[in-house]
């Protein structure tokens, strides 16, 4: 057992170097102010108050959350029936369908987004709708695969038992299949909502240049304004929101499991 633990050292080192250390740096930058070219370590919360007191920034945050939420909801609405359909196919067809589904994921996300740009260019649509289409397209496979895995794991005997006890197909779905696939939906939400809320390439390319999300703001403050302190504060606020929503989904997962 002990020797197995030792094997995790490289992994721990990796985490410390590339996850923990950067997070600490972001935290440090976020709570300090920069002097003339050098960082003076004077503690401040003004980076946070600057963000939270500015209606423009708050609106950007709200838009980001809204579009991520909408993307997630639509991914579930489209993804659940699709997953159900696939799970009811014969075994070999299922493998093929999942392969077809993952196929576009092998293509670079940037290329796919550029392709959408070309397609959507011909339509007069609100930029928010264009961004939304691109996001749903990009994240849908994650949702379908998670839900499909949950449904495929389901014990068929339970369905047979439900029919035996007189439940019709609809009732069986509501009382058996749906509750048992909740863990799949929840890991789907984690995989869709979290990247969606911080995505910035899709809004940049599909939003036609007048659609700013929180990821774009962070990019601007780091790369254009050179204001790493403020950029870090925004990143930290984002991180807190993400950790908060992860906590919530975990809780949902647990209460669903208890039922």
């Amino acid at each position: 057992m002990k020797s197995f633990f030792r094997m995790s050292y490289p992994y721990l080192l990796w985490i410390a170097l590339f996850i923990v250390a950067p997070m600490i740096m972001i935290l440090l930058y976020a709570v300090t102010r920069s002097g003339n070219g050098t960082i003076t370590f004077s503690f401040t919360l003004e980076n946070f108050s600057r963000f939270l007191s500015d209606p423009t920034f708050l609106r950007v945050l709200w838009t980001s959350l809204r579009i991520a939420l909408l993307t997630t909801v639509f991914c579930i609405l489209i993804g659940y029936p699709a997953a159900l359909f696939i799970a009811n196919l014969p075994e070999r067809r299922q493998t093929l369908m999942i392969l077809l589904l993952t196929l576009p994921m092998w293509i670079n996300m940037l290329l796919k987004t550029y392709a959408w740009r070309g397609i959507l260019m011909n339509f007069e649509l609100e930029s928010e709708i264009k961004v939304f289409i691109g996001m749903v397209y990009d994240f849908l496979p994650y949702m379908i695969i998670q839900i499909h895995t949950a449904i495929a794991k389901l014990d068929r005997n339970l369905l047979v038992a439900a029919y035996d006890l007189g439940a019709n197909r609809w009732k069986t779905f509501l009382k058996v299949t749906l509750p048992l696939s909740v863990p799949g939906i929840i890991s789907g939400i984690t995989l869709v909502f979290l990247p969606a809320v911080s995505s910035f390439v899709i809004p940049k390319l599909l939003g036609g240049g007048n659609y700013v999300l929180i990821g774009n703001l962070i990019e601007t403050y780091f790369l254009v304004a050179g204001d790493w302190n403020f950029g870090s504060a925004i990143s930290l606020i984002m991180a807190l929101i993400i950790i908060g929503s992860m906590y919530l989904t975990k809780k949902l997962d647990r209460s669903a499991g208890e039922e």
Partner: protein
């Protein structure tokens, strides 16, 4: 053995005249070395780079960036390149920060080929550190089937407050240029640091954003305007020259309120690893052949006087193209000077808010 000696002797003989002709360096001394070049995106004819590699037996590691500010941030984190191509005001900042090294004028012997409009500019009065590469003005490319020429020329930058173009405009996503446009329209200097004037410019930009709902773009504006997707766009003259060449409905207006004249010039960072070859490269790029190939490929105005005259003259690649040669000698036009440190962060901050509204 004898054969090898003979070959070597022949080689030496062949090299002699070459060594006699070139001053300051031996063309064979760089063989096998690498030159790190960091330039703007879509800003070179790659064949020129390849022939430089062949001629000196070197490898050019060619990378590109999108903004002066990004380049500056990377320089600050200690990245080392041999040749970079920042704009005027960034060169000024780099010189002030002791981050550049002077050119070796015994190698860069062709400075007399520089065009009048780019020689000895304020940011580097004797071209001690920099050799201009391309230069440009900022202006408006517009679709003459949608906006008549007289109408656009009369408005200039005011077109960006005209509600009848709502939804049909591109705007360049660059805080420095955005503030220049607002300040010029209001009759101020593009280099102002006056609080009241900058606030007024900020309000002008906010109003523009509210009235026109422009799309904020960078390089993608080139293809979009060549396809005629919108009525007007803020672009650099070099990109305009390309757009005009692709789409005959397009025209270029250099606003009467004045604009920015920008020079992008080749410099050698202080921490360059191969500075001697960097000097050779700079000379090579300014020479007639490379300058001509690059200017034809990219559409920006060459810093080489002969190339500039030839390409815009009769039979030249850009004959009759109103955007190719930048407007020179107009008193309201300005070259950027480097803003004080607090403004360097303040402008992008205000600009981010304009776009986010």
């Amino acid at each position: 053995m004898k054969k090898t000696l003979l070959v070597m002797l022949a080689l030496c003989l062949a090299l002699l005249p070459a060594m006699g002709l070139t001053e300051g360096f031996d063309p064979k001394e760089f063989e096998g070395t690498t030159l790190n070049v960091y330039n703007w995106g879509e800003y070179v004819d790659m064949d020129v780079i390849r022939s430089f590699e062949k001629e000196y037996g070197v490898r050019v590691n060619y990378k590109t960036y999108e903004s002066n500010e990004y380049l500056w941030l990377q320089m600050q984190s200690g990245d080392a390149w041999d040749v970079i191509v920042p704009s005027d005001y960034m060169i000024e900042r780099l010189i002030a920060a002791n981050m550049l090294q002077p050119l070796d004028k015994s190698i860069v012997t062709n400075l007399d080929q520089l065009a009048e409009g780019v020689r000895n500019q304020g940011y580097d009065p004797d071209n001690t550190y920099s050799v201009p590469y391309f230069w440009q003005t900022m202006g408006i490319v517009y679709d003459t089937t949608k906006i008549p020429e007289e109408e656009m020329e009369a408005q200039g930058w005011e077109a960006y407050q005209n509600a009848s173009y709502a939804g049909h405009a591109y705007f360049y996503d660059s805080s420095r240029d955005a503030f220049m446009i607002a300040e010029k329209t209001l009759g101020y200097s593009a280099n102002t640091t006056d609080e009241a004037q900058i606030n007024e410019a900020y309000e002008w930009l906010r109003k523009m954003n509210a009235t026109l709902q422009p799309s904020y773009v960078t390089d993608e504006v080139i293809d979009s305007m060549a396809e005629g997707l919108k009525w007007m766009a803020v672009v650099y003259s070099g990109d305009a020259a390309y757009i005009l060449g692709e789409n005959e409905d397009m025209a270029y207006c250099v606003p009467h309120q004045g604009t920015n004249i920008a020079v992008d010039a080749m410099v050698i960072p202080a921490n360059a690893k191969n500075p001697k070859l960097a000097n050779v490269f700079i000379k090579y790029m300014l020479d007639y052949d490379a300058s001509k190939a690059n200017s034809i490929e990219v559409g920006y105005a060459s810093a080489n006087a002969q190339v500039l005259a030839e390409l815009s003259g009769p039979g030249g690649e850009y004959e009759g193209n109103a955007a190719y040669v930048p407007r020179a000698g107009y008193e309201k036009d300005e070259v950027y000077v480097d803003l004080p440190a607090d403004w360097q962060a303040r402008q992008p901050d205000l600009w981010a808010k304009v776009m986010a509204e």
